[in-house]
């Protein structure tokens, strides 16, 4: 009988060690103890110092490929963060926002409208990840952070702030560009009830915390259509929300500025989008600049690291006229 106990004790000690040894791997220990391990895929927001981020960009891949918070800070001094995962659903956005509001005190939230049209059940991560215990274990997500421990203080700075820098380009088809410019209508577009439910919850949450909620539609040939434009336009009117449809506001070069034939922007296209949003924040007077504020020195370092690490290679610099 004795050796059964031995095995059980062995695993109890192992479990304790797993929990304890995850702590040094967590970027911001103070936030870890205060807010706990939220969700394995969203923990990176907890890396940021408490109450330093004024704007949250919530949405799917159209956010992380279109808006670079670091560049906004570089030019305007406003702090923001991309709370976005690929194929993010409205429900996940609500969770993400809840986490954001817990640890931060945002003034503005941008919400990507492309998520309205996503089928909440189609999200692969949702089905796969929840079944897999490993995504709930801090260790699974954090284990590679030993590299950061060895890498010194700079290594802990998340210089992309949720943005994903993509330098490669893959031109959109001519026919796609034309139909996009001709205000293509896509008749399959519907919004599921679940998405409206979470939209309402997000609106409530923002009201409660005095946050200005702004809808944003980032440029995408594949995702955008005139039909969607009309639907979102109606939603914005019904709920009295401000809305930026960058598809109609910006002029994107769909040959050089897209990474995947018009579905997402590459870093070139992202700059156009990013500065438009920055300019908008500047004019609206909703947030203040933190440039020259010693509390935000890490952001200045992030800009340096951003420019150092995110570079085009020679091959990617060719422009097609």
């Amino acid at each position: 009988m004795k050796w059964y106990f031995k095995i059980i004790i062995f695993f109890i000690i192992l479990a304790i060690l797993v929990e304890l040894l995850a702590i040094p791997l967590f970027p911001n220990k103070k936030n870890l103890f205060k807010y706990g391990f939220f969700n394995s895929t969203m923990f990176e927001l907890l890396n940021e110092e408490e109450n330093t981020i004024d704007t949250l960009m919530v949405g799917d891949s159209l956010i992380y490929s279109s808006i670079s918070p670091t560049l906004i800070y570089d030019k305007y001094g406003f702090t923001s963060y991309d709370c976005s995962l690929s194929s993010q659903t409205m429900k996940e956005s609500y969770q993400y926002l809840t986490l954001g509001i817990k640890s931060q005190n945002p003034k503005v939230v941008f919400l990507e409208t492309n998520m309205f049209f996503r089928d909440p059940d189609s999200n692969k991560r949702k089905i796969k990840d929840i079944k897999k215990v490993k995504y709930m274990l801090p260790f699974y997500v954090l284990h590679n952070n030993w590299k950061k421990i060895l890498g010194g203080s700079d290594a802990w700075i998340d210089y992309n702030k949720g943005f994903r820098y993509i330098a490669k380009f893959n031109p959109a088809k001519k026919s796609d560009i034309e139909s996009y410019r001709k205000d293509r209508r896509d008749d399959k577009t519907i919004i599921k009830d679940e998405n409206m439910y979470y939209l309402k919850k997000i609106i409530e949450l923002c009201d409660e915390h005095n946050i200005k909620l702004i809808l944003i539609s980032n440029p995408s040939i594949k995702a955008w259509s005139m039909k969607k434009h009309e639907i979102v336009s109606k939603i914005a009117k019904d709920y009295n929300l401000e809305w930026l449809d960058l598809n109609t506001l910006l002029d994107i070069d769909w040959v050089n500025d897209t990474k995947d034939k018009g579905e997402h922007l590459n870093h070139r296209g992202a700059e156009i989008s990013t500065y438009y949003v920055g300019e908008y924040l500047l004019k609206s007077n909703l947030v203040v600049s933190h440039k020259n504020d010693p509390k935000y020195q890490k952001w200045d370092r992030a800009v340096e690291l951003y420019k150092e690490n995110n570079k085009e290679t020679k091959k990617e610099k060719i422009l097609i006229k």
Binding site: W3, K6, F10, I13, L14, L17, V18, L21, K134, F139, Y140, V141, H143, N144, W146, K147, L150, G151
Partner: protein
């Protein structure tokens, strides 16, 4: 499915072990058989029919051969010397016929599932060349899992019965378990009936000692795979997919990385196979014996995937080289060419067949054939030049046991192995030859080339730690020191601390999660 998956190691194995210890001793082998069938069915579904046919034909053929033998003995007892010869010949013929039919039936499965496509693609090419307007249909068929392993395992049993090395088993369930044993089903090693039968059917008790030893071995295998193989996979993929963009140095690095990765993945899997069997009290022979400590490439292949080499040696090499016509050839060649080169002729004919089949066994494709023929040539050249090298060394007063000479030998051996593995990994002959050409001609390393191979400095550190650890363990093994025995002598605190260190080094240094793609079990496809 991989033996190195978390589910298999920490759910399947513990479940099997627990039920195995509850089941009465007498029925344990039946339980193992059920597990084996379940695993097979889980992966290959209705193709299990093929496995059943192999089991059935194997069981019947072996029994039948035994019957013939008994009958022969009976007749011989009552016969005079002239009749004896006749009886012997008659039964020899019958036995041989039976064996040939058995082999043909089973090898035809292997041909059908693994080689038919390759043959029909090539016949179509030939027909096109000859301007014949006909082509065979190419159907993509999925082979039953592990067919290259369990089929040869079954063949060895019947051939051993034929040769009188083992008695035919009367219990069909035991034959079934021998062929389809779940731990060796997918990636081997090839077992021999005589070696495994005692421990496999005994239903040995699971002891705490075996449990610890078994899981130590399994964790070591997991370490090799997750820390080293999965990490190297990134570099290997980049180099082999884009070799044109890199210098010969990167090609060589990619090849070395691939060889190391292959070793870590496959020998790691063997650690799981042998370790999990150890828990169940089943003894399986080692499939690797520190191959990189070999003196030459021919020794390398007696230390790498040992059971495959042994299979080819016992069932292909000796039967061919010691067949009657070959023996005659050897005798006449010896008179003309002397003691060294005489036997080499029949030997190299047999060796050619062995390496041709060895290449083919790994896969139907020209790269695998090239892999086999490359090794044939290297081993042959080694044998031809050995006397010359010995002479030269003696003349120059070079001591061949000298450490420098040994190091030189090892580097030469490793280099040849690396070149061979290029054929093994490359998708086409063009890529393989292109990379080899680069290694010998293009050494213009561009700045930043190494950092563009997908690994950062910390990955190299992790690799260094991992490989050093495996290397140290290998030295102990080479010196016949059983590390696990040494560990068991230490006090509990030290033992457990070591276990936790091993577990956490896998957790920390393992190449899993975002940005890593685990290696597929390479040998499972063969």
């Amino acid at each position: 499915m991989s033996y190195l998956s978390i589910y298999y190691l920490f759910l399947v194995i513990p479940a099997v072990v627990i039920i195995y210890s509850i089941v009465p001793k007498k029925f344990r082998y039946i339980f193992l058989l059920l597990v084996s069938f379940a695993l097979f069915f889980y992966i290959s579904k209705k193709l299990i029919v093929i496995l059943f046919i192999t089991i059935l034909t194997t069981y019947i053929s072996a029994l039948f051969i035994n019957k013939l033998e008994e009958k022969k003995e009976l007749l011989l007892n009552n016969a005079n010397s002239e009749e004896k010869k006749e009886i012997k010949n008659k039964f020899k013929f019958k036995k041989k016929l039976l064996l040939i039919i058995y082999i043909l039936i089973n090898v035809s499965f292997l041909v059908a599932y693994k080689y038919l496509n390759f043959f029909s693609i090539n016949t179509n090419l030939l027909l096109k060349l000859l301007h014949i307007d006909y082509s065979f249909k190419i159907i993509r068929i999925v082979a039953p899992i592990g067919i290259s392993f369990w089929l040869l395992t079954a063949l060895s049993y019947v051939i051993d019965v034929y040769n009188g090395k083992v008695e035919a088993e009367k219990n069909p369930l035991k034959v079934a378990l021998y062929i389809s044993y779940f731990a060796t089903l997918i990636e081997g090693p090839f077992t021999r009936y005589a070696d495994i039968k005692d421990s496999m059917f005994a239903g040995n008790n699971v002891t705490y000692d075996n449990l610890c030893r078994g899981y130590q071995r399994i964790m070591f295998g997991l370490f090799k795979k997750m820390v080293i193989a999965d990490r190297l996979n990134i570099l290997v993929k980049i180099v082999f997919d884009n070799y044109i963009e890199f210098s010969g140095f990167s090609s060589l690095l990619g090849t070395i990385a691939y060889t190391v990765m292959l070793y870590m993945e496959f020998s790691g899997t063997m650690d799981v196979v042998i370790g999990s069997s150890e828990i169940l009290g089943i003894n399986i022979k080692e499939n690797f014996r520190q191959p990189f400590f070999s003196k030459n490439i021919s020794e390398f292949w007696t230390r790498w995937h040992i059971s495959l080499g042994a299979w080819f040696r016992d069932y292909i090499f000796y039967p061919i080289s010691l067949s009657k016509p070959m023996k005659k050839l050897t005798i006449s060649a010896r008179k003309k060419l002397g003691n060294h080169f005489g036997p080499l002729i029949s030997g190299s004919i047999a060796l050619f067949v062995v390496w041709f089949l060895n290449g083919l066994w790994h896969g139907a494709g020209y790269t695998f054939l090239a892999f086999g023929l490359f090794h044939f040539l290297m081993i042959l050249l080694g044998n031809i030049f050995t006397p010359l090298i010995i002479k030269i060394c003696n003349k120059l007063n070079i001591n061949r046991e000298n450490i420098i000479y040994r190091v030189f030998q090892s580097i030469k051996m490793a280099f040849l192995v690396f070149i061979g593995e290029i054929f093994f990994r490359a998708d086409t002959m063009q890529i393989a030859l292109g990379m080899i050409k680069k290694i010998f001609t293009d050494w213009s390393i561009r700045t930043g080339e190494i950092s563009s191979l997908g690994l950062d400095i910390y990955d190299y550190i992790a690799l260094l730690i991992g490989i050093t650890f495996v290397f140290v363990i290998s030295i102990f093994k080479e010196k016949n020191i059983d590390v696990r025995n040494e560990i068991s002598k230490k006090p509990v605190a030290v033992r457990w601390a070591l276990y936790y260190i091993l577990i956490f080094s896998i957790f920390l240094l393992g190449a899993f999660g975002h940005g890593y793609v685990p290696v597929d079990p390479m040998y499972a496809d063969f």
